[in-house]
């Protein structure tokens, strides 16, 4: 599903984001990405989305080489990846429901199915009553859950989550994790960057640990440390 081959990313002027990373994640896997603050987790995820190009190396997602992907194909590529962003990236002027609906709209789904799916998924993350609020009117944790809902709603074949529980209390975190787990069980590949030691240790899934841009550990059924 995901293959990084000797990928490096150096930001201007000379800041290392990733350093010679080679990782392969199979279809249907569940993997944690851990590491200190600034170790390159978000860089890894942003490269997957083709937000920018790697300085070196090649990235393949769902069998397609991102380096050779045409510009016009990028939106389609992104639709197949559900992404929970670390800073939520909600459209500030749209209601919660419209934010979630937007990622269905871009795929050209009919309004009727949009009207059905959006409340469903928002109920699932516990925001059934905040559907018509603007993002600004939500607590940080609620915004994070909107971002989670938006990433799920398309039933993407790859789900990437950048610290999706950073602003959530332990109970709500567990709820979201269960959701991710269920989604993974239906065949969706899940990659999750996290600092939540408790969670990682409990789940016992694959753990990829980054340190200053390099993979320092990659073990199945691993622990946070």
């Amino acid at each position: 599903m995901i293959r990084f081959e000797n990928v490096s990313k150096v930001y201007d002027p000379n800041i290392v984001g990733l350093k010679d990373v080679s990782v392969q994640i199979e279809r249907g896997e569940f993997a944690f990405l851990v590491g200190h603050s600034g170790s390159g987790k978000s860089t890894f995820i942003r490269l997957l989305l083709k937000e920018f190009e790697p300085t070196k190396g090649s990235i393949t997602v769902a069998g397609r080489n991102l380096g050779r992907m045409r510009r016009a194909a990028v939106p389609h590529h992104r639709r197949n990846i559900g992404c929970v962003f670390q800073d939520f990236k909600l459209l500030p002027n749209r209601s919660v429901a419209e934010n979630v609906a937007y990622s269905l709209r871009v795929t050209g789904q009919p309004p009727r199915s949009i009207r059905r799916k959006v409340p469903e998924i928002l109920q699932l993350v516990g925001l059934g009553e905040k559907m018509s609020n603007l993002p600004d009117e939500l607590s940080a944790g609620e915004q994070q859950r909107v971002s989670v809902a938006r990433a799920f709603v398309n039933h993407p074949s790859l789900l990437v989550a950048d610290e999706p529980t950073g602003n959530l209390d332990p109970d709500t975190s567990v709820g979201i994790m269960q959701l991710l787990y269920r989604i993974n069980r239906t065949g969706t590949t899940v990659l999750m960057a996290t600092h939540d030691r408790e969670m990682v240790d409990k789940m016992r899934k694959r753990v990829i640990a980054l340190e200053e841009g390099s993979v320092i550990r990659d073990e199945d059924k691993g622990l946070y440390r």
Partner: protein
């Protein structure tokens, strides 16, 4: 379906970002209103000066020896010239009457004359005063025209005054046209500037849209329609203001000075102007702005 969605998006966005919408609409309105008033003044200036210019004439004096046939033949020739707007024949008697009148109270001078030494003449008014020299030249060598040998003093044109009035109006009109063109360019600049600014202010929004898989056109269409609406609303406002000014102010002037021949602009043309001008400006403005902020 999709079209309706885009229109809905555009309207929503106009309402949500109303501060920026209002700013853009005000810019369109003000620019187009100023442009409209400028063009209006220019057109009416043209009318007014063409009134002045039509007073400029060529006088062709005819030899006393010419026969009535020759005279009327010359008249027909003149009438056949495409540059000529109207011709007026001044007979010997008419000429004397005019002289008499202009001498006011000293007509006795003229009574002392043996007969009438004044020549008959044609007064020629042209469609375009700038053609005076060309037309006048045609009479320089005409045998029945009262030229002294070696000169063509039998053909008189407005001369210095003509030239001067012509030049003044000419340059006023060139200046006016240039200024109106300048206004048009300025309007386009200002409007696209404002739309660009309001899209720039939302570049993060655009970035998010791209990240969740929206194609460029999916993002662009609502912005373009927003631009079109902005343009239409602004232009409509400009039209309403313009009609108000025309009714309350210009009509009054026209009544006072019918000779100015001021044209009021018919609503139909205004409407056309609005739909084309406003819509085009708005869509071009957003189109250009998007090209810059919508890479990839």
């Amino acid at each position: 379906m999709k079209f309706r969605f885009f229109v809905g998006e555009a309207v929503d966005s106009l309402v949500r970002n109303w501060v920026m919408s209002v700013a853009a609409i005000v810019t369109v309105l003000v620019s187009m209103f100023v442009l409209g008033i400028g063009a209006f003044i220019f057109v009416n200036l043209q009318n007014a000066t063409s009134g002045v210019r039509s007073k400029l004439e060529i006088e062709v004096f005819i030899r006393n020896t010419a026969s009535p046939d020759q005279i009327s033949q010359l008249g027909d020739q003149i009438k056949a010239m495409p540059e000529v707007r109207s011709v007026n024949f001044v007979s010997k008697e008419e000429a004397m009457n005019r002289l008499r009148e202009s001498m006011k109270g000293h007509e006795d001078v003229l009574d002392a004359l043996s007969g009438n030494p004044l020549p008959p003449s044609y007064e020629i008014y042209l469609k375009d005063p700038s053609q005076i020299d060309g037309v006048a030249g045609r009479f320089y060598n005409n045998p029945i025209v009262d030229n002294d040998t070696g000169t063509h003093n039998g053909v008189r044109t407005g001369g210095e005054t003509t030239d001067r009035v012509l030049q003044v109006t000419h340059y006023i009109l060139i200046g006016g046209a240039g200024f109106v063109a300048l206004l048009a360019v300025a309007s386009i600049l200002l409007i696209s500037n404002t739309i660009r600014l309001s899209i720039f202010a939302r570049r993060r929004e655009v970035e998010i849209m791209r990240l969740v898989g929206a194609t460029n056109w999916f993002i662009r269409w609502p912005f373009i329609m927003e631009g079109v609406f902005t343009g239409l609303v602004g232009a409509t406002g400009a039209m309403v203001l313009f009609l108000l000014v025309q009714n309350f102010f210009v009509d009054k002037i026209i009544n006072e000075m019918p000779f100015l021949g001021a044209d009021t602009v018919p609503t139909f043309w205004l409407l056309l102007f609005i739909i084309i001008g406003g819509g085009l400006l708005g869509s071009l403005g957003s189109g250009l702005a998007l090209r810059r902020f919508l890479k990839i």
